[in-house]
């Protein structure tokens, strides 16, 4: 009885395998030339330009201010500071802290400013409202940097609007955030429309991909990004053979099997750095050679460490600037200061976080220290020169308070390092 059942089960399994293998083979995959990042080699080179001169505090040499008791104000910060995607958030927090520290030391502010950084573990949208509430209930908080991710911003937008507390995000890129008529919300970085358009154009025109798989992680950010990429690709007559969402997990076997079945030559993943390298590794292990492209949520050194040798050849789109590879004086200055303070180079969104902090510092310098005043100041911002761009806000209600000066950069991994290949305009005219 026992022998028979074991025998039976193994026969069935073997039979299933054999039968299914006899299915039709389908077309063979095209040669590696199409959709390969090698195409970019001729076009890409390291280095890039920062937009305009920045507004950096000069003096570490200035003396400490007189010990007067200046009124205290706080700027809030919400983001995932200790969770699995914290490497996308901490640089902005550190940059802001540094900016405020230097501003306080310079002594020409009418107030002492400090950063209240609230850790929203794993950037869960559900815990964000409570944190926002805490900032709202704290009367010393006159402005907020963030939230860092799109899901949490979604959750708190209405709250901040009702409370008339201004919040400027350095990295929440989901498109519909600026479509909600939240006049207290400002986005200091390009939204996903441009990023996704860039990704789509890159794959369609620069890499000349024929069949693409678009995958997202069901997060507010990832899904939003993937949706637009898919539209762009379809509009450019690229065949989207796989268009799926899969919650963050460790076992991507079924997803990779889908890729094997449809054999795309390019894969776009809308999601975060905690999962992206896992997908890539499992893809490569099963022999899926498609080029892997992801957005700013995956662009972090952790991707390289986790994906190992498979990382090379991956491409990223990012509305962010990497100040470490910039040749502009103010960017270099920022990097030097950051390095001196924290003994490491500023990572993703550090420069953007710095810029937002500088906006608030400018408000304080102009004597605006109450919530309504700060909100008005930020709203009226014109031609504010930051490290990453010159800031002007859109006023059209359909897309309110976006930075008008937007750029998308393409990054790639070569020999274990993430390099700036250039702005998207370099590859797609």
């Amino acid at each position: 009885m026992r022998k028979r059942s074991v025998f039976a089960v193994s026969m069935v399994a073997a039979l299933a395998l054999v039968l299914s293998a006899c299915g039709d083979d389908g077309p063979t995959t095209p040669a590696a030339a199409a959709c390969s990042p090698v195409q970019l080699q001729a076009l890409g080179s390291v280095g890039g330009k920062v937009r305009a001169a920045g507004n950096i505090q000069s003096a570490v040499t200035k003396q400490a201010p007189l010990a007067q008791a200046k009124p205290e104000v706080k700027i809030g910060f919400i983001g995932d500071l200790t969770g699995s995607n914290s490497s996308l958030v901490v640089h902005a927090r550190d940059a802001a802290n540094l900016a405020f520290k230097l501003a306080n030391e310079a002594g020409d502010l009418p107030v002492t400013v400090s950063l209240v950084a609230l850790d929203n573990k794993e950037a869960a949208p559900t815990t964000a409202p409570a944190l926002a509430q805490r900032l709202i209930n704290d009367d010393k908080v006159v402005g907020v940097i963030g939230p860092a991710f799109s899901g949490e911003t979604s959750a708190v937008g209405p709250l901040f609007k009702q409370a008339r507390l201004v919040h400027v995000t350095q990295s929440a890129t989901r498109v519909d955030l600026t479509q909600q008529k939240w006049d207290t919300f400002f986005r200091a970085v390009g939204g996903d429309t441009d990023q996704a358009a860039a990704a789509g154009q890159l794959m369609a025109k620069a890499l000349k991909c024929k069949k693409v798989a678009v995958i997202d992680d069901k997060s507010a950010y990832g899904q939003g990004l993937a949706e637009i990429v898919e539209k762009e690709l379809t509009a450019a007559n690229v065949e989207v053979v796989v268009n799926e969402s899969i919650e963050p997990t460790t076992d991507y076997t079924t997803l990779v099997d889908s890729l094997l079945a449809k054999s795309p030559d390019g894969v776009f993943y809308g999601g975060y750095v905690a999962q992206a390298p896992l997908i890539l590794k499992q893809m490569r292990a099963k022999g899926v050679k498609a080029t892997f492209i992801s957005g700013d949520g995956s662009k972090d050194d952790k991707f390289v460490t986790d994906a190992g040798a498979d990382a090379n050849g991956t491409l990223f789109t990012c509305p962010c600037l990497d100040p470490n590879v910039s040749s502009e004086a103010d960017a270099k200055d920022f990097v030097a200061k950051f390095q001196a303070e924290y003994k490491r180079a500023p990572g993703i969104y550090g420069a953007e976080g710095w810029d937002v902090a500088q906006m608030y510092i400018a408000a304080f310098k102009a004597g605006k220290t109450t919530r309504p005043d700060v909100l008005q100041f930020i709203t009226d911002l014109k031609d504010f020169k930051g490290l990453t761009k010159t800031f002007n806000w859109t006023t059209d209600e359909a897309m309110l308070h976006e930075a008008t000066d937007k750029g998308v950069n393409i990054y790639g991994i070569r020999q274990g390092k993430i390099l700036l290949l250039g702005p998207i305009q370099k590859f797609v005219s």
Partner: protein, 399 residues
């Protein structure tokens, strides 16, 4: 708060140790003070309950708002919501003895009902409903859901029921995540409005948690009275019979399935209720708010407080919600330890004090595994006679 000059692990150990000591002290106190208080309360229940209830009303409605700042009232509001949830689950697990691990599903249904019917989601209905109007609708829907879920599953044996309800909880969450046209999936529903009031001005504003808190507290009071009434009636006795020995109850003519269904449905509607209020205050809901871990947390609240004890459910909710807040000023690593402590507490409670912080007398005996011979019961306030208590052989089915 000056950080102690210790590494992270010693700090965790210190907190752990602190907890252990605190609990030991409480246990000591309890033995000296608790038992006499309980006896006093039981023998004078006729006036003891109304007066303690009055005290509770005064404390909650007047004292708390008067002496707390906004942040604390916000916390009190959340505790109130969880107290409602705890109360409801207590009916299911504590009174009727049904293992429900998917309780959060009803919370989700209530919250999403508010989200959808308030026109904040993709579906638009022709009426402009306020929270007050959505409440009865949500109660009706979750009652129905409770019946629908319960009818096929309540016939199952204890452990199996637990797992089925767990499965259902997860299915509800995943469906919410994928049913974009109704729930907007993971993006969630944002901008759920606070309740409207018939007079001018909106006391229910975003920066004023007090009206929300008071409303929740009022509902809590009502539910306490309702559930207490039910438990002290024939329904409660049926529940006790089902809980202690379902086969015998069935044999005695108790319509077990019907009353199990009722317990389940009442638990479900209380949860739905809480969901509506929660959605209205927080203004944002997504499938992430309704995970398995929340079901387990609520279960822990009920168990910690005392299965089958109404006061216990409230105390359990308060403890589990407030402890992390109290620990918030401590560094991040210690906060992560909170689930560690949580888990340890659950295990320890089951081993040392399964009847919970505020035990219901009947349940205390059941859970400890002591069996009282039929007909020989202890007088309130007395321990049962020693020679009729026997320990079942290990492996025999407990209740």
């Amino acid at each position: 708060m000056t950080p102690l000059a210790l590494g992270p692990w010693p700090r965790v150990g210190l907190v752990f140790g602190g907890f252990a000591v605190a609990i030991w002290l409480l246990a000591m106190l309890e033995r000296r003070i608790g038992e006499p208080v309980r006896r006093f309360y039981d023998s004078n229940e006729r006036w003891a309950f109304p007066s303690s209830f009055m005290l509770f009303i005064v404390g909650g409605a007047a004292v708390v708002p008067a002496f707390s700042d906004k942040v604390q009232i916000e916390l009190a509001f959340i505790v109130g919501v969880f107290a409602l949830l705890s109360l409801g689950l207590n009916v299911v697990v504590g009174f009727a003895g049904l293992l429900d691990l998917g309780y959060v599903a009803f919370f989700a249904i209530g919250a999403y009902t508010m989200g959808v019917l308030s026109n904040a989601g993709p579906i638009q209905i022709p009426w402009d409903l306020s929270m007050w109007q959505v409440l009865p609708a949500a109660v009706a829907i979750t009652l129905l859901a409770g019946f629908l879920l319960g009818a096929p599953t309540l016939r199952l044996r204890g452990d199996y029921l637990a797992i089925v309800t767990l499965g259902f909880g997860e299915i509800v969450r995943i469906v919410a995540q994928n049913l974009e046209p109704v729930t907007r999936g993971s993006k969630g529903i944002i901008g759920i409005p606070p309740p409207k009031v018939p007079f001018e001005g909106t006391p229910f504003a975003v920066d004023n948690p007090t009206p929300f808190y008071l409303t929740t507290f009022a509902f809590l009071l009502i539910m306490i009275l309702v559930i207490r009434r039910l438990n002290h009636s024939r329904v409660g006795r049926y529940w006790a019979a089902i809980r202690e020995d379902e086969v015998a109850a069935e044999a005695m003519g108790v319509p077990t399935l019907k009353y199990k269904l009722w317990a389940f449905a009442i638990g479900a509607s209380t949860s739905g209720f809480a969901g509506v209020i929660y959605a209205s205050r927080v203004g944002f809901i997504s499938p992430e708010s309704f995970q398995l871990i929340t079901s387990i947390t609520i279960l822990a609240m009920v168990v910690l407080g005392g299965l089958g004890s109404i006061a216990g459910a409230l105390v359990g909710a308060a403890i589990i919600q407030m402890v992390p807040e109290v620990l918030r000023s401590l560094p991040a690593q210690v906060q992560d330890a909170r689930y560690l402590i949580f888990g340890a507490i659950l295990v320890a409670m089951m081993i040392f004090r399964p009847q919970g912080v505020i035990p219901s007398r009947r349940r205390a005996a059941e859970l400890k595994g002591e069996v009282m011979e039929a007909g020989v019961t202890a007088m309130p306030g007395e321990a049962p006679p020693a020679d009729v208590i026997r320990e079942p052989i290990s492996g025999e089915e407990g209740t």
